[in-house]
């Protein structure tokens, strides 16, 4: 194993500051877990680096050890197994956007990611990184939530599958145990088949924006009656969230009989809207209700 202990010069706007950092580049997954177990205290796993480099620049990451992952090609793949599409955690967004398999099986999922960051970021950013960075505004998560995706979590002695709706516990808090990583994302191959689909990302620019609000939905309506509905939001709550209570309320209702005051009531029960530099909670709340209305009426 390459165990590098060296000085890293962190460049700041005001000048240069030298920080001691410890780095590890494990040769295999097994070595990764052995290394990870030996490190006490806080550590970071580096995938594409598009979030971590910004956090280093802003001084949010100081001298914690960093374990490099991106060279582990076994986690960089899109394949089909049984009834699932499996996307390795280190697969980049440009690989997702170029995948023929996804184009055939999950075109709505693939098309919805076209506005993810910019083409320059899509080349390096990874699906696992987008999930594990834990941002409330992670673009891919609302889509994975409505597609009933599961995460395959790897540790030294165990593999387990967790629905992505159970992965987040709070702001940047996960169900992950110590020394456990996201290995892959599993999406049922027919997850979007037969549904009417909806994805809207609201921002201040046409390109390269971080969402003020993102909403993803799937519905099956026949004779004006909502037979099935799945809704998920990003940037509204402390973590992207599936709206199970709103779904439950809407199911089996006639579209023209929906009382949106009731929708708001159920939304309030499961969401605590956030206010940040991009937008405030009142705006986010209102837009969310309006977009649910748009989706149901379209």
């Amino acid at each position: 194993m390459l165990d590098i202990n060296c000085q890293y010069k962190s460049v700041e706007v005001s000048g240069k500051k030298e920080i001691n950092m410890k780095f590890y580049k494990p040769k295999s997954l097994l070595e990764l877990f052995e290394t990870s177990e030996k490190i006490e205290g806080k550590k970071y796993f580096l995938a594409g680096g598009t979030d971590i480099n910004v956090q280093i620049k802003n001084g949010m990451i100081k001298d914690e050890p960093i374990i490099f992952l991106n060279h582990l090609t076994e986690l960089k793949n899109i394949l089909q197994s049984d009834n699932h599409i499996i996307i390795g955690a280190l697969t980049s967004f440009s690989e997702i956007l170029e995948s023929e398999l996804l184009k055939n099986k999950l075109p709505f999922f693939q098309n919805s990611l076209k506005n993810f960051a910019s083409p320059l970021i899509q080349t390096t950013a990874t699906i696992g990184g987008n999930i594990a960075n834990g941002s409330p505004t992670a673009d891919i998560v609302p889509l994975l939530l409505i597609l009933d995706a599961k995460l395959k979590l790897f540790s030294k002695s165990k593999l387990r599958e967790v629905p992505i709706s159970e992965f987040y516990l709070g702001y940047k808090k996960f169900i992950l145990k110590r020394n456990e990583i996201i290995g892959a994302v599993l999406i049922p191959e027919n997850a979007e088949t037969g549904y009417e689909t909806f994805y809207k990302k609201i921002g201040s620019r046409k390109a390269l924006y971080i969402a003020k609000l993102a909403i993803a939905g799937l519905k099956k309506i026949s004779n004006n009656k909502i037979e099935e509905i799945k809704l998920a939001v990003g940037s509204l709550n402390e973590y992207p969230r599936r709206l199970f209570k709103v779904e439950e309320y809407l199911k089996n209702k006639l579209v023209n009989e929906i009382d949106f005051a009731d929708v708001e009531h159920f939304l309030q029960k499961e969401i605590t809207p956030i206010t940040d530099l991009r937008s405030d909670k009142e705006y986010r709340y209102r837009v969310c209700i309006n977009l649910i209305r748009t989706f149901l009426n379209q």
Binding site: K25, G49, V54, L120, I121, A207
Partner: protein, 160 residues
């Protein structure tokens, strides 16, 4: 750590901190000053280079990520036939004013003209959406890339 990579078609080896940004490696270790730093957060595209043929913001790429890979900067692209074509087109349409964003636009446009090259304004806008210009405006930049797409078929087949 020692890393090996191809820089503008030449094989190079350096001993470098694994987290050092590709942007700083290019500017400090190789004195390739065409690659600019502006936002340092991947939002402006001034530091764009090609990594294994694809455009990336070099401020978000670490030394450890370029080991064994191919890096092409604006300096390398300026020597390529399509790079030269683009520089002429940017010149003709007066698309460069202060010039700070230009190397980044050159790299991203090069990738578009080389790999796609369709004279399609929407596709060009999408391809260049990660690069920001704050003075000339985008209209002339789009015009110059459209012009390059128009002229590409006139080039010798081995240069395209």
């Amino acid at each position: 750590m020692n890393i090996n990579f191809t820089l503008n078609k030449k094989s190079v080896t350096i001993d470098v901190d694994p987290m050092k940004r590709l942007l700083d490696i290019l500017r400090e270790d190789f004195r390739l000053l065409g690659t600019k730093e502006s936002c340092g957060e991947g939002e402006c595209g001034a530091c764009t280079v090609l990594l294994d043929g694809k455009p990336v913001t070099s401020c978000l790429v670490n030394a450890v990520h370029i080991d064994g890979k191919e890096v092409m900067t604006s300096e390398g692209i300026a020597k390529e036939p399509i790079g030269k074509l683009l520089i002429d087109c940017f010149d003709e349409t007066n698309a460069v004013q202060c010039g700070f964003c230009f190397p980044g636009f050159l790299v991203t446009s090069y990738h578009y003209v080389k790999t796609d090259g369709e004279k399609n304004l929407n596709k060009i806008k999408k391809a260049l959406s990660g690069n920001i210009c704050r003075c000339t405006g985008y209209q002339k930049i789009f015009e110059s890339v459209m012009l390059a797409c128009e002229r590409k078929p006139l080039m010798n087949a081995n240069e395209r």
